[in-house]
């Protein structure tokens, strides 16, 4: 009996031990020691007010697994991208996450490099971004490796809609991949040109600096052409070349047909002097420009015919261009551009007639000019408003100021 009692006590006590252990450690995984994955309850849809307590992991009344980010494997790009996709993040989110991580890495490296340079006293000049040429080269390589990594992970360097829009405005209807290739080439060569500007002592560009820039620009052109198909090269010329870009601005109001634009482009591309950062404009270059410009105008006249050439002359006249900018700035009707321009032509013609009138005494001529200036001012005020006349006078208005000065006004 006593033996039975002892046995029962032993068994019962063993049971206590087992049950106690089960209570305390009953959620553990056998062996291994890995942390259990707790499948959280699904969230309720957002109700407009967050009502969240992010710190406690409760959002909209539901508890959120606080280790979700950690589970995605952010230390390894490939794992992260795979897990993000598997977890249901749309591709645009995956791209945004990768871009953000790369950007953060880049910024941290940049900040470390700047910190290593030590503080610069406020009285000491520092050129540009505060980095040395070697540090900029390192960051350039880092940027290139990030782009390569993004291509490997995502298939391409991601582009936002806003970026795509800006690029297409400049480059025309090229595919994303081509635009990115060009953009990368331009960024790389742009940094090299930036180095030259930064290192130019006293901010002065010397002939050897311009030669280096000319060389870099030539290499950039070669690399861009190599990145394009023949059809894309043609498009690139029409959208990006300096001549085409300048023409689109200068011909505002002319509304050329495609054929007219191509014809004018061909003449201007041949006769326009070299532009760009390598160009140095001295008196000789200015004189040469004037000669070539006159030749270009004659050739354009022959191509367009007299009527269209008259339109071309009008829109390329500085007075017309100034009228366009002032009317646009003042939010006045578009037709006021032509009205301003025509008033200027009329006034200049009448002023010329007064100047040429030998029968007028000096004082009479001055009085007539003053009256003409007053009439111009009044009529211009109707077209541009009184405030607009001040703007017009201060931003150019050469014909008005000339007539006013001939009339004795200061």
């Amino acid at each position: 009996m006593k033996t039975l009692l002892v046995s029962l006590v032993a068994v019962s006590l063993a049971g206590n031990a087992v049950l106690l252990a089960w209570r305390c450690f009953g959620g553990s995984v056998e062996g291994g020691g890995a942390v259990p994955v707790v499948a959280p309850s699904p969230l309720r849809p957002g109700s407009g007010e967050s009502g969240a307590d992010a710190e406690s992991g409760v959002v909209q009344g539901q508890r959120i697994e606080p280790t979700l980010w950690g589970q995605l494997g952010a230390s390894d790009g490939r794992t992260l991208v795979t897990n993000l996709r598997e977890a249901g993040f749309p591709e645009s989110d995956v791209q945004a996450v990768v871009r953000a991580l790369m950007s953060e890495r880049f910024t941290e490296r940049r900040m470390k490099l700047l910190a290593a340079n030590g503080p610069l006293p406020f009285w000491v000049s520092r050129r540009g971004d505060g980095l040395t040429a070697e540090q900029r080269a390192e960051l350039r390589e880092l940027r290139q490796s990030h782009e390569a990594e993004m291509r490997a992970l995502l298939g391409a360097v991601p582009m936002t809609e806003s970026e795509r829009r800006s690029f297409r405005r400049v480059y025309g209807p090229l595919p994303d991949a081509t635009i990115q290739a060009i953009s990368t080439i331009q960024a790389d060569y742009g940094e090299l040109v930036g180095e030259i500007y930064r290192e130019a002592s006293g901010g002065m560009m010397m002939p050897w600096d311009r030669e280096k820039i000319a060389f870099i620009e030539a290499e950039q052109r070669k690399d861009i052409e190599a990145a394009l198909t023949p059809e894309e090269r043609e498009l690139h010329k029409w959208y990006v070349s300096g001549t085409a870009t300048a023409l689109r601005y200068q011909l505002q109001g002319f509304e050329p047909t495609e054929a007219e634009f191509r014809a004018i482009f061909a003449i201007r591309e041949r006769l326009d002097p070299p532009s760009g950062r390598a160009a140095y404009i001295d008196n000789t270059a200015l004189e040469q420009r004037r000669t070539l410009d006159a030749q270009a105008r004659e050739e354009i006249r022959a191509v367009l015919g007299e009527a269209r050439y008259a339109d071309y002359e009008r829109v390329t006249n500085p007075d017309y261009r100034q009228a366009t900018e002032v009317v646009a700035r003042l939010n006045l009707p578009r037709e006021n551009v032509m009205a301003t321009y025509q008033l200027g032509r009329e006034m200049q013609s009448r002023a010329e007639a007064l100047r040429a009138d030998a029968s007028l005494a000096l004082a009479d001529r001055a009085a007539a000019m003053a009256a003409l200036a007053a009439e111009a001012d009044e009529r211009l005020g109707v077209i541009l408003t009184r405030d607009g006349v001040s703007v017009f006078r201060n931003t150019g208005g050469s014909w008005l100021r000339r007539i006013e000065s001939m009339g004795g006004a200061r």
């Binding site: 699904p42 598997e86 996450v97 000491v124 900018e325």
Partner: protein, 421 residues
């Protein structure tokens, strides 16, 4: 003894009953038993590895499914505040929260852009620029950008700095705490947006209205007041010395001068008064009256600089700001010549001007004056070449030494005049 055993047995039995049926049971994961793993954690190894691998794969799939469920619910939320808080609760770093919420804000703005401006077209290459249309589109885009910034600020706080801005600010404002750097950055960003809006309104070749200038002046004053309010007086003074446009412009001008801290502070104080009066960085041309007032103030400022620096240091300062001197410095550096040769070339300019002036005032005949001026130009060319070398001299005369080109042109005109009957 027997009664003790009975008591122990009874207590133990009661304890067993309590442990078995009373209170909440320990939680068991819903995933597959016995082999739940954390993604990334190593699987268990030896003994029954196939079964355990298969079990681990099942567990991983179940984990992924669970995550997909949770993430799906989170991402479906159209309330960005809920998304933001959900991401934070899920342990997403703030950079990623900003990226994901920011992307959705951009989407909303893109949708608004589409409503207001229609789909983006790539115009044919022969379509010319249109100032009127450009203004309309820019106005809408600026309004949308303001909306985007406001929404970002509401949801994400003052806003993360773009990487290069953050690095720049941290570098330039080391004397401030990180919290104050962020505060200053936010103020600067706000005003930069407002100033940029005013400048954009006045874009185009110098077309700005009088009210644009007044708006810029007001914004500049308010910005300085807001920043001053955020900093102690000592911090604000340092901020101005590091960051103000006056300080930046002054540093640029003093590049070749080797200025001391004391000199810089004194020059800065004078330049700031001038810049505040004439609104440095304004847009659009100045009226004739403004130009006259500015010319007078320029002369006064130079005199004040002379007083601060003293005659000798002022001469060094003037030399360092001369473009001809800077060209000469570039040339001696490029051709590895002594630095003092650039100083000597600079001194030639003053000598040439003095001697030219004397010749112009002399009682000599036109022909004699022309001959003397030509001889002066030739002498100066020779002395420049002696200091900078033949090639350096050529570069100097062509690209940097405008005083020499003027001397040469005047000598040539004088010779041409002398030859006329």
């Amino acid at each position: 003894m027997k009664s003790t055993l009975v008591i122990v047995l009874g207590a133990s039995a009661i304890l067993n009953a309590v442990l078995l049926v009373g209170g909440p049971r320990p939680h068991r994961p819903e995933v597959a038993e016995a082999s739940a793993v954390v993604v990334g954690a190593p699987l268990r190894g030896d003994g029954g590895s196939e079964a355990r691998t298969a079990g681990a794969a099942d567990a991983a799939r179940a984990s992924a499914a669970a995550r997909r469920g949770e993430v799906g619910q989170l991402l479906e939320s159209t309330d960005l505040a809920t998304l933001r808080d959900g991401l934070r609760a899920a342990g997403f770093p703030e950079t990623i929260v900003r990226a994901l919420v920011g992307r959705r804000i951009e989407e909303q703005i893109e949708a608004r852009r589409l409503q207001r401006l229609g789909p983006t077209k790539v115009e044919p290459f022969w379509k010319t620029y249109d100032s009127f249309e450009e203004r309309r589109v820019r106005s809408v885009e600026r309004a949308l950008a303001r909306e985007q910034r406001a929404l970002s600020a509401e949801l994400l706080g003052a806003g993360a700095m773009a990487g290069d801005v953050r690095a720049y600010m941290a570098d330039r404002l080391r004397f401030l705490s990180p919290a104050k750097v962020e505060l200053i950055r936010a103020i600067e960003a706000d005003y930069s947006d407002m100033i940029s809006d005013v400048r954009s309104d006045g874009y185009g070749p110098g077309v700005s209205l009088p009210e644009d200038q007044e708006k810029l002046r007001m914004l500049q004053r308010e910005k300085e007041a807001d920043i001053a309010a955020a900093l102690t007086p000592e911090e604000y003074e340092l901020y101005q010395l590091h960051q103000s446009s006056t300080a930046n412009t002054l540093r640029g001008r003093l590049r070749g001068f080797d200025v001391t801290e004391e000199e810089f502070r004194a020059l800065y104080a004078l330049q700031k008064v001038y810049d505040d009066r004439f609104q440095a960085g304004r847009i659009g041309p100045r009226t004739a009256e403004e130009q006259r007032a500015r010319s007078t103030a320029d002369r006064e400022l130079k005199d004040q600089f002379k007083v601060v620096l003293g005659e000798s240091r002022y001469a060094e300062y003037e030399r360092s700001t001369s473009s001809a001197y800077r060209a000469a410095v570039n040339i001696v550096e490029h051709f590895n010549l002594p630095r003092e040769n650039a100083v000597s070339v600079h001194a030639l300019e003053a000598e040439a001007r003095r001697r030219h002036g004397e010749l112009a005032q002399s009682a000599a005949s036109t022909a004699e004056r022309a001959s003397a001026m030509q001889a002066l130009a030739t002498e100066m060319a020779g002395r420049i070449d002696a200091l900078l070398g033949a090639e350096g001299g050529r570069v100097f005369r062509t690209y940097g030494g405008s005083w020499f080109r003027v001397l040469e042109e005047q000598a040539q005109r004088g010779s041409a005049s002398a030859r006329r009957p």
